[in-house]
């Protein structure tokens, strides 16, 4: 997922632990032995990644269906 797919609203969140504003940065996603590197909103300090419901049910949901052959 490139930065253009990140909802600007998601970058208004702050990390609850560090207080840092989230930034778009590469994150590694693993599923069923496959690794993907994509830009996702994350804390620039501790690296926690925000996966919104929209992303989880949208792109990640489609990827899950593809890999699981559904």
């Amino acid at each position: 997922m490139t930065e253009q797919h990140i909802d600007p609203e998601d970058l208004k969140w702050r990390c609850s632990k560090c207080g840092e504003k989230l930034v778009a940065a590469p994150a590694v996603v693993e599923y069923m032995g496959n690794r993907f590197t994509n830009d996702l909103p994350q804390c620039p300090k501790c690296g926690w990644v925000l996966v919104t419901e929209k992303i989880a049910k949208g792109r990640m949901g489609e990827v899950e269906r593809i890999l699981e052959d559904k």
């Binding site: 997922m1 996603v29 496959n34 993907f36 949208g58 792109r59 489609e62 990827v63």
Partner: protein
């Protein structure tokens, strides 16, 4: 045949996309060079053997085969891909040619590679006949391509409509075409996991597969959700 009709016979716009190449890598197909490497382990090719790559694109396979000591030659119909290959510094012999009329002498090559390109051809049977013509006796044909894991769906788009999925056929059809062109299939392997991985990467890059198709002006078919495309490696030997 005029240039315009050649272009119509082998549409390549999708594969010329830098954005797509960013997802697939320079090989512009599922699996990158993994299946090329796999096939090469199976072929008893002598050093400096002449090998032809039909639909060489940016020349990834040609470069790899030459690194392995083979005299590899690449052919592609896309002037854009051939130009981009040269701009990127790829030096192996590559030329523009139509796979339906290969510019090679009879029985002049030891192996032909067609990696995710046979399904793009307007007349795949004719292309396989050409492969048979240019291959030496007992020469090898390596095809990696999309295929239908179940019954082929009835798609509205014609084969060679701009993406390999439209020219995909069932395994039996692939094998029968090879046999009809004078080949004996010696290996068939399913590598659908490579296709799924690429499809997943496309979803991350484009937002969804629907958006990926739309980026190239291809509408999703009504029964798109029901089809089960697969990916395979087929190796065949030219009959004596």
């Amino acid at each position: 045949m005029k240039t315009s009709s050649l272009a119509a016979a082998w549409p390549v716009n999708l594969y010329e996309s830098k954005r797509l190449q960013g997802v697939t890598g320079p090989a512009i197909r599922p699996g990158d060079l993994a299946l090329t490497q796999r096939a090469l382990t199976l072929l008893p090719l002598a050093e400096k053997a002449t090998v032809l790559d039909i639909g060489c694109g940016l020349g990834a396979t040609v470069s790899y085969l030459r690194e392995k000591g083979l005299s590899a030659i690449g052919l592609d119909l896309s002037t854009v891909l051939l130009r981009d290959a040269r701009a990127a510094g790829t030096q192996p012999p590559m030329a523009r040619a139509d796979a339906h009329r290969l510019p090679m002498r009879n029985e002049s090559v030891s192996a032909v590679f067609m990696e995710c390109t046979l399904s793009l051809m307007a007349r795949p049977a004719r292309v396989l006949e050409e492969c048979s013509r240019v291959l030496r006796s007992e020469g090898h044909l390596v095809v990696t391509d999309m295929y239908w894991r179940g019954e082929a769906p009835r798609l509205k788009a014609e084969p060679s409509a701009g993406c390999c999925i439209f020219g995909a056929v069932e395994r039996q059809v692939m094998e029968r075409r090879a046999k009809d062109a004078g080949f004996t299939v010696t290996l068939w392997e399913d590598h659908t996991a490579q296709l799924k991985y690429l499809a997943a990467k496309l979803v991350f890059e484009y937002g969804s597969l629907k958006d990926f198709w739309a980026a190239f002006g291809i509408s999703e078919e009504e029964n798109w959700c029901c089809v089960k495309p697969g990916y395979c490696l087929m190796v065949a030997r030219k009959d004596l």
